[in-house]
Symmetry: D2
Subunit: 242 residues, 4 copies
């Protein structure tokens, strides 16, 4: 780690993929973890004890502009000289397939909030911080902003009428920001997770993954890290993981 | 026209494409036109005098569930024995390219409301009416629901961060509804308009279209009609017009 | 029909979709039908007796430049004053799913020949004829060139390693020609048939289509006709039929 | 390196990207380099002297089944106990934009040969070798097969009518092989290079890349390596680099 503290902010911080990403980044970055239930639920993330507690800051945010403004102010107070150069928008759709005519407008709206509004607000908070950075000596990036996507980011489906719109919209946001801020040195990427992530909960419910069809969160996180380490002259905007 | 009055509902009814679609449908259908500014602005639509006034019902709706509920109640009161079998969701993004960091969350939200929430509410109102219809004798459809899309439904772009999300989301909604209700006899389609529509206002601002690069609204409407007339065994879910 | 004889050329002329397209066009166009087995197999096409025999010219072509050159020369001799303004490239992949390691290079090559080489040669023959036409009075097109595609034009699949490449390539050809010749008044379109076409043979093998899941060739042809009738200011490059 | 010699085969071996990939792999793999002009042109590849000469085998192949059969036989004679577990299909379209009507069928055919036929033959040679491997201890893969793509793999364009078909077809091949052999432990990926690769020749012709818009081959190769190192439970089928 250079003498300046580097900071990665992960929103949608739960015990699956976000924790795996946090582990990958912990050797180079201090971590700011955001979710609705944090900091109370921090112990449930199962972060390894090898990450020093003083390198983790857990804060509450529901993705609203207000809560994010507060969180980034807290971050700045906590580590006033830190350099925020990674942001991960990893908020899940609260999953629930549903017949369209049994659905309520509030479900569509919840899907849009977690799908895109939170990501838009998160980008509004973090991009100005990126723009104030010098380009990274190795990658040339002022900052890296990654969005987690899903199969339903690409294709609608029966019973996905309230879930897919927010994920399509998230993908569109990642593309628009990549085109606007790529020339300014910000790497914006979108990762399409095409499959079920293996977690303790999935294992309980569905048994062992005998045919290697599930996605391992540590292995997914390895690809997030690869994208973060891409030099400016060879950035990936979108990839799938299956 | 058969002895039962057939009714087409067009939301996003302005003097451009919606009026052209209305003209195409007027020989077979009574028309319900919905927009924020209707019925006050009806004269601005330039509907030809050949459409009998008694076959047009102009109502106000901003796409909210409440306003749509009211509009469909008014429709039912006005034509209690009518058969609603066409719906067109033609609401435009109130166009405005904007640097992301000069944008306000309210602009994203406005884009989502017109992009997808209004379409979702419109579908909630109209699909149950479709499901109560017998299949059309010629096409086999119980109803046809068409969504107007745009180039930004497919690709984000610099300065499109508040506009494109709602249009991506609309496309996703059309796909999800097509898969869910196609097997039930409802034809759901999405038309991607890849270009500028020629209107009086565009002509004033940009002059004549010497190189045939603009889209003619009457000609676009011809393709809406073609989709409406497709038999069930050969439905188009998506097409582009350029 | 105007005083000038209008001619449509359909290659890949079999008893299914091509015959349906021929029927749709027969009221306005004389028909040139091309396939490997024509003119011998003409009776198998089941063309209705309402099409005057003198309006049909059946010729042999395997899609090679040589055979197409000959066919277009024969056409010109047969109808020296005709105006060729429609071309349909409807050649099928000779279907055969196959494990990759059980496949032979000749199968890939056959897929490329029917998938794209024949279409490229067909376009080389017909586009110069289009360019010599005046724009159509109604549509503004000098000619319309439509390519039949399939689900495998968009997605590879296990056992499709010899079949899909030619269909992807055909789609690419349609896009390239649309961009190059659209500005010159030629409408180039691509129709993705996403499903099984109902034919006598399919009915025999698979029984009745009880759930409306098969595509009806007459109904597909209706959409080919709609594309042909699109005015220049609102052309569709690609649509799906499902 | 484990006690078994691991071998990577790169076809389309030139002084740009292929050399960069070779450098990335040279610490773990012996290299088999294939191209039309090899082994004669080996010195032009500018491979660093840090790669031991005895770890490089340069062979001639034009992508034909015959030449590839010969090359893989030579490989087996040269390193009889080696384990081939990486294949890179990096053959370029011999670039040349061309008006369609000034093009010759032989140009389309050349595009198909390099675009997809060579890749199909290469896969026929290398996949059986992969299938005979035990899964890699770290990644779980029996082999990794990567195809280099381009912007024209996704979109046709005016003057691309002979170039894009082969690249669309290559993408389709990668998808079909991924679906067929993924379940058998073979990782098949497709990398879309969306931009001009910076090489000495490009620098000479176009000057310095002042706005970071060109792709650096060493940096692209870093992403090839990341894909090769992905564990089986999180494989990328396709990504872009821009």
């Amino acid at each position: 780690m250079s003498s300046t503290r580097r900071i990665a902010v992960i929103i949608g911080a739960g015990p699956g993929l976000a924790t795996s990403i946090a582990k990958q980044l912990s050797s180079t970055h201090s971590l700011v973890l955001l979710s609705r239930s944090l900091p109370n639920s921090l112990s449930k993330l199962n972060l390894p004890s090898t990450i020093p507690k003083e390198n983790i800051l857990a804060l509450s945010s529901d993705g609203s502009a207000t809560s994010l403004k507060k969180a980034f102010e807290d971050l700045k107070k906590h580590w006033p000289n830190g350099k925020v150069d990674i942001g991960i928008y990893n908020v899940n759709q609260s999953f629930g397939l549903r017949d369209f005519l049994d659905s309520d407008e509030s479900q569509l709206r919840a899907g849009l909030e977690s799908g895109v509004v939170g990501g838009w607000n998160f980008s509004q908070s973090i991009i100005p911080l990126f723009l104030s950075n010098e380009p990274d000596e190795i990658t040339g990036a002022r900052g890296v902003l990654l969005f987690t996507g899903a199969t339903m980011s690409l294709r609608g489906g029966a019973k996905f009428s309230s879930l897919a719109p927010g994920m399509f919209a998230r993908r569109s946001l990642s593309q628009s920001l990549a085109r606007e801020f790529g020339p300014k040195g910000i790497h914006v990427g979108h990762i399409i997770l095409d499959g079920i992530i293996e977690t303790d909960r999935v294992k309980e419910m569905m048994g062992e993954d005998k045919d290697h069809s599930r996605l391992n969160p540590d292995h997914i996180a390895q690809t997030y890290l690869s994208m973060i380490n891409q030099p400016r002259t060879a950035w990936t905007q979108e990839l799938d993981i299956r």
